[in-house]
Symmetry: C2
Subunit: 212 residues, 2 copies
């Protein structure tokens, strides 16, 4: 039995990650590929508690940016050990709603932690583990945030200022341009076109995987 | 108004930290020094939640050693920003039940994270902040653990094997020998002698502080 593959969907608030995940699920289903879903931060009972801490707006105390960074990676460590790695070892594919690229963009780009810090903490936590393919939904943060606001209540991070999201967006684009395992999808297109691009990218990845 | 001082008490299970803290409090009271108490992990509402996660024995999932490390420093970041630094700035002294030296001993020595990793994560979190004086209660782990067991239920970390505690103890002694701000107290002595040693160390520190 071959090990599964880890497909990650990335992008900012309002980029359309949820409907993109539905497209990926549908594509895997049509190919008869068994998969599990994860989300970050979260995805295990303990990691979900950490997610609540990071996202809650009504803390009795201010969360430091260092705590935010450390909790994101603690959540990732729990998810990797207890869910992602066991699923892959069992031959299942894993669809991840966010992974390390989010921390690179939000804590690295947004909060300003430098690359050396981000690499060190990622190395401690992931020990070189990486997604097999990442689909990055690229959206102008002004458009994305207005979509997210229309959707409802914003969490602690979504309440940041626009300059924060512009730094996040710039870091996403910078990292996506450097890494051939990241496929950038233009999420400003009509939804049907976005979904076709995602389906095509997943089918190409499956075909390439079958040939390996 | 001068800033306060940060006095930390360190040592393994059963070394006698609680009664040592009472001696420090008594000594500061006699000198009319205003102080607050902290403990690690914990000491703020959010950090206490992290303490529960780290110490609980009945998790639905295994805590990775990386998560343990990251949560210890997340707790420390919250405590530093929200309790230690404000108290010191207000001229109060802070008595800390454990601080960074515990992570160096337990996660560094016990879990085996190397010095480079420990330095990096400490630098991210503490940015060079250090206790003014640390009183390290040195006890043979066999004696300490048997005292702790007699006291009642052991937490997740206290349930480790003896080899773990021997590594923790060796790291404590190694670091205490290198750092002139750490005063080692022989906690195997009669309790009265231990308490006299602690009181004397605190009085010497106060005297030196007054002369500065």
């Amino acid at each position: 039995m071959s090990t599964g593959k880890f497909i990650v969907i990335e992008g900012m608030e309002g980029a359309g990650k949820s409907s993109a995940i539905a497209v990926i699920e549908n594509t895997l289903n049509k190919q008869g590929i068994d998969y599990v879903n994860t989300r970050e931060p979260g995805g295990t009972p303990l990691a979900e508690s950490l997610r609540d801490m990071v996202k809650s707006v009504d803390h009795q105390e201010k969360l430091t940016v260092e705590t935010e960074l450390l909790l994101m990676y603690a959540s990732r460590s729990q998810l990797l050990a207890n869910k992602i790695l066991p699923a892959l070892a069992a031959g299942k594919w894993v669809i991840g709603d966010r992974h390390d690229l989010s921390s690179r963009a939000y804590q690295g780009g947004g909060r300003g932690f430098d690359e050396k810090i981000m690499n060190t903490i990622a190395d401690i936590t992931l020990k070189g583990f990486r997604p097999d393919i990442t689909l990055y939904l690229d959206i102008d943060p002004h458009i994305g945030l207005s979509r997210a606001k229309a959707r409802g209540d914003l969490d602690r991070i979504e309440l940041e200022q626009m300059e924060f999201f512009i730094r996040v967006h710039n870091k996403y684009r910078e990292l996506a341009a450097q890494d051939t395992s990241i496929v950038t999808v233009d999420a400003a297109q009509a939804m049907l076109q976005v979904h076709q691009d995602i389906e095509q990218a997943v089918i190409e990845f499956i075909t390439k995987t079958d040939l390996d």
